[in-house]
């Protein structure tokens, strides 16, 4: 409990110190508003224009959630398939790596040509960069299953499916959840890039619009909104992780108490 309070205090202090420095510098040096607005103005813009921001937040959040879900579905499915069919793994490996080498910025305009200005180009971009950490972490996680535990399940007469669901999936969970955390942050970036290239609504669209009108406080207000969305998503996954990996957390806590801290 005391530790939690300390964490909160330190985090808040660091952020406040940075914001104060920013505020003071901008005001003292007389930086023009359209170059860099002070944080107080950004916060004011965020609060004052929150009703206007809300539909944009909703649009972007929808794209992120859909894109991430698609990334998780495709990534997990592909990861399992690559694990069980090594030939497929060898055949597709170069293509999967190549898909991450293509700059998303280069194909995002093409996606607009193909799918129009609506939801799907953004969802596709978010899913495209989000699925990679999922594939990698799912296959690596499935491979990391202990051979002795496989022996144990086989000796109990378990089927391949039972070994997958009762052993390989739970074994891979720590790795998969790490992948999910990376995928979630990437999907936020992906949705924004999708909007940047062409959209009618969303935080990325708002940034482009406001920027062209020299309304920099609103650009930053949109960035603030996006950051909050990203953080909430990340915390949601952390919460899921602490639920699913309760068995590990309990042991780590017990160990740290036993050894007087983290060494």
């Amino acid at each position: 409990m005391r530790q939690k309070a300390a964490t909160l205090l330190i985090g808040t202090a660091i952020v406040l110190a940075l914001l104060a420095t920013w505020e003071v510098c901008v005001r003292w040096l007389g930086v023009p508003r359209f170059v860099l607005p002070p944080p107080s103005e950004i916060l004011w813009a965020f609060v004052a224009q929150f009703p206007m921001l809300l539909p944009h937040i909703a649009t972007t959040l929808g794209e992120i959630v859909l894109g991430l879900s698609l990334a998780v579905l495709v990534g997990t499915g592909l990861g399992v398939a690559l694990f069980y069919v090594p030939t497929l793994d060898r055949a597709l490996h170069p293509a999967i790596i190549a898909s991450q080498m293509i700059p998303v910025f280069a194909i995002a305009p093409l996606l607009i040509v193909w799918f129009g200005y609506g939801l799907w180009p953004k969802v596709t971009v978010a899913a495209m960069i989000g699925f990679f950490p999922m594939v990698v972490n799912v296959t690596d996680g499935l491979k990391s299953t202990s051979p002795d535990r496989i022996d144990l399940l086989r000796s109990l007469g378990a089927t391949r499916w039972q070994i997958l669901t009762k052993l390989r999936f739970p074994s891979s969970l720590p790795s998969v959840l790490s992948g999910l955390k990376v995928a979630a942050t990437l999907s936020v970036v992906g949705a924004t890039i999708g909007e940047w290239v062409g959209a009618r609504q969303g935080l990325g669209y708002l940034m482009v619009q406001s920027h062209s009108q020299f309304r920099d406080a609103r650009v930053f207000a949109a960035i603030l909104a996006l950051t909050i969305v990203g953080l909430l998503l990340y915390w949601a996954i952390r919460l899921l992780e602490s639920r699913l990996l309760r068995w590990r957390a309990a042991a780590v806590e017990a160990d740290e108490e036993l050894y007087g801290g983290r060494w």
Partner: protein, 250 residues
């Protein structure tokens, strides 16, 4: 008593990328139903390979294994407790114990009730909802052993179940293992490095040679259980086993 496992002329060679590794060479022995057989031998001699063949997890190159005078084992015919990672860390002790029943499709409520009763009977009460990482080494092995005993198979293969424990816990666990076995009789094949353990528990001890291994000699232990670790006949058995394992003693 009938023969539960008949092993004859078993040979196995691993063909790894680094070269051929002969592990078992014409190994033959019989296991009587309901008896306790122990395999003891130098480390790395192929004991685990032998158990995995008996469990039907890997095939032998030559020779045969027959269960109850009939067919060769396939995975699922025989209960097997591997040496490492015996518990699933994401399951509580009780959920680990019912794993076998869960796989065979037994209703969860009945399985949990039965496992709870066994926890009570064998000194595990109060640990049902603990995760393996929260248990001591000895407790963890107790859970693993109980789980193996409640697999509905007449034969149980144990690969060094007490190997990772300190000598004091180990001695206590040997007595505990014996009390479990006396109440839930099964045909046991145990692999161990520990001479005392072999003498306390077994009806028959097969001493294995270095790789490629075969049976060097078989010792029968006829003394009534529970056996006194300080009796003259126990010392004689100890000496005989050590001589077989290490050659002449000073």
């Amino acid at each position: 008593m009938d023969t539960a496992i008949a092993v004859s002329n078993l040979s196995k060679t691993y063909r790894a990328a680094v070269g051929r590794l002969p592990v078992l060479r014409s190994l033959s022995f019989d296991v009587t139903g309901g008896s306790w057989t122990t395999l003891i031998g130098p480390s790395g001699c192929g004991k685990t390979t032998l158990l995995r063949i008996l469990a039907g997890l890997i095939p032998a190159d030559e020779g045969t294994v027959r269960l109850d005078g009939g067919s060769a084992p396939t995975a699922g015919d025989v209960a097997y407790l591997p040496q490492h990672d015996t518990l699933l860390p994401w399951r509580t002790a009780l959920d680990n114990a019912v794993l076998a029943w869960e796989i065979s499709g037994r209703p969860a409520a009945a399985a949990h009730a039965d496992a709870r009763a066994l926890f009570e009977r064998f000194g595990l009460a109060g640990f049902e909802t603990h995760y393996p990482l929260q248990l001591s080494g000895g407790m963890r092995q107790r859970v693993a052993v109980i789980r193996s005993f409640l697999v509905d198979r007449s034969i149980l293969l144990l690969d060094e179940p007490l190997g990772a424990l300190d000598p004091l816990t180990r001695t206590r666990m040997q007595d505990w293992l014996l009390s479990v076995w006396s109440q839930m009789r099964k045909t046991i094949v145990l692999v161990t490095h520990d001479v005392e353990e072999a003498l306390v528990l077994s009806d028959k001890i097969h001493v294995l040679g270095p790789r490629p291994t075969s049976i060097r000699q078989t010792i029968r232990v006829a003394d009534e259980r529970p056996r006194l670790r300080t009796s003259p006949s126990f010392y004689r058995g100890r000496e005989a086993l050590l001589r077989l394992l290490f050659g002449d003693l000073p």
